[in-house]
Symmetry: C2
Subunit: 355 residues, 2 copies
């Protein structure tokens, strides 16, 4: 039995407490300053209002102001915030981290500096901690297709744990694995994290395809949807993820395994990212769509914006040719330059019409 | 303008007449002996009752008894029958084929002989024709994600045309291409055909995952579906398709392009194959499910049965290890040996839990 502190009481952070509780670990769930209502409900009724479930046995909820008590003696710190909270969580746990602890992040995203260099989020988080302690901590991350509500419902879920330190992955996998939470392991942390981030971006493209259906008048009198277009976008997205993983020096096969195709599938059929895509595909500009969705975290847009900053650098370094990545370019045009969504379909798959 | 004869007036055969008509070609649509009612409606009202659409301008419907008139002077013969009709169509067109004609098939399937050797369907069809004329014909096939009703609705569709003779692919692509029917080309006919067949088999696995949801009591009180399991099955299916394409000496990347992941996606979200899978996943044996679906063509089951015959040969030849292809083995157990459906999830992705 180990002690795990989850910081961030949103859907996915909280969902990870179910396998942990089932394995008999001690779990402290700390809400961020945005999770006050959630923690209140958890404290009063052991009920999570967004997951719509009771907290599992033995999980103790804490307000952010109580983090000092909550984090005391933790073996594992799980970062359950979204990509906008990564710097915050690093600064927040900074006073409390101790040598030997493992820090595992479920956040999907990436960050780009002014020169267009990409950083994975575990490195961003680590960057907020004291330099002296960093080598004494083990950083890891979770990727792969996992809808939080299903994990919390103890549905079979296949995920990937990654760390540059493979022994940390092995330890963490043995802590989290249950008969329904199936964990594969990798030391290609960069590939895992980029795969997860890219997937979020490309899911928006699938949403855009279905938004275009609406623009075309919806399902027609004979029932025709836009699944064919979505499938073409899906396949080209896998190709682009594979190419981007190659550029990052990572395992290209992730593009059609859990972090790529698997996660793209689950987010397309069961995720929330498609909603923004549908608005864009239906003809709204990103500015308009953002107003409609005010208050919601648009992680895919954040990621696309970061990738848009990286693209000129990749071209400058000769890593990407101008005819490559047509879907990514469409996404950048839509999100960064506020252009209407339009896919250059005939540029998919190399653009020369030879598959 | 060329003359194209489509044989088989089902959904997909008829759907291909829309781009052909839009390109100004002369199209004769010949129903099989099972399509009598369809052709009657087409002749009387130019309306296709299953597609629920009017035939496009200039498409002339024919009963199978009129095939002699219909096929006279054809430049292209399109085989629009399902996999069970491939021998039949070969024998049917045998008296009429002429040197220089192109024969293109939309059928998805494969055939295995008693020794477990696989043959692609264009070769099965060719085998029914006189040996002397075969070298004077050009055989091709269509793969990739394409729901017929969407193609007939002139929705964007991304497909792949393949032939061992690349010049035939180029000719055919120029005949069929429209601004909505996007065609990529390959000379890897075997990879294209196997990809399409495998995809049909693996779609059944996705259906099974959703059937297991029903067995588990359906969506739970907090809304949890089985998308996570389906996504794991999706990703492992891509891995197995890639492996099988490698064994066939074909382009493995098809597994995450249009013939693999793209087609798997579209069949999972918009196709009809999942219905059988849902029955199996919910606990019916194949025998029971077949009775429930009496009268429907169960192409995926046919393909799995063929693959089941090939599997011992592949193992004997050392091409497949016993721990490989866990989903295919599950499918063979269910379809050939009538066993209950159960996924050995922890054997996915190499089974060693290292992705």
């Amino acid at each position: 039995m180990v002690k795990v502190v989850i910081i961030g009481a949103g859907l996915m952070g909280t969902a990870t407490s179910y396998p942990l509780s089932d394995n008999g670990h001690s779990v402290h769930l700390v809400g961020t300053h945005l999770d006050g209502e959630i923690i209140k409900s958890c404290k009063e009724k052991q009920f999570h209002p967004r997951l719509k479930r009771n907290l599992p046995v033995g999980v103790r909820p804490y307000y952010i102001e109580e983090i000092g008590d909550a984090i005391e003696g933790a073996d594992v710190i799980l970062s359950g915030v979204n990509s906008l909270g990564v710097h915050w969580i690093g600064r927040t746990i900074k006073p409390y981290v101790r040598p030997g602890q493992m820090i595992i992040a479920i956040t999907k995203g990436l960050e780009t500096d002014a020169e267009g260099n990409w950083r994975i989020l575990p490195d961003v988080l680590a960057g907020e901690l004291d330099e002296a302690i960093r080598p004494q901590l083990k950083f890891a991350a979770v990727g792969g297709p996992c809808i939080a509500g299903e994990l919390a419902g103890r549905r079979h879920s296949c995920v990937v744990f990654g760390s540059r330190d493979f022994s940390a992955v092995e330890q963490l996998a043995s802590i989290f694995s249950t008969p329904y939470y199936h964990i594969w392991k990798t030391s290609d942390l960069v590939g895992l994290e980029f795969g997860a981030a890219f997937k979020n971006a490309y899911t928006l493209a699938i949403g855009i395809a279905y938004g275009m259906l609406e623009k075309a008048g919806g399902v027609d009198e004979a029932g025709a949807n836009f699944h064919n277009l979505a499938a073409g976008v899906f396949a080209q997205s896998c190709v682009e993820m594979s190419r981007l993983l190659q550029i990052a020096g990572s395992d290209q096969s992730f593009a059609y395994k859990l972090p790529g195709a698997g996660d793209l599938y689950v987010t397309a059929v069961g995720g929330r990212t498609v909603r923004l895509g549908k608005l864009l595909g239906a003809g709204k500009t990103f500015k308009e769509a953002r107003q409609i969705m005010a208050g919601e975290t648009l992680e895919s847009a954040e990621i696309i914006s970061m990738m848009g900053t990286a693209l000129p650098r990749l071209e400058r370094e000769g890593l990407v040719q101008p005819n490559e990545l047509p879907i990514l370019r469409t996404l950048v045009d839509v999100i960064v330059y506020n252009k209407p969504a339009q896919f250059p379909i005939d540029q998919f798959f190399g653009g020369k019409a030879v598959l």
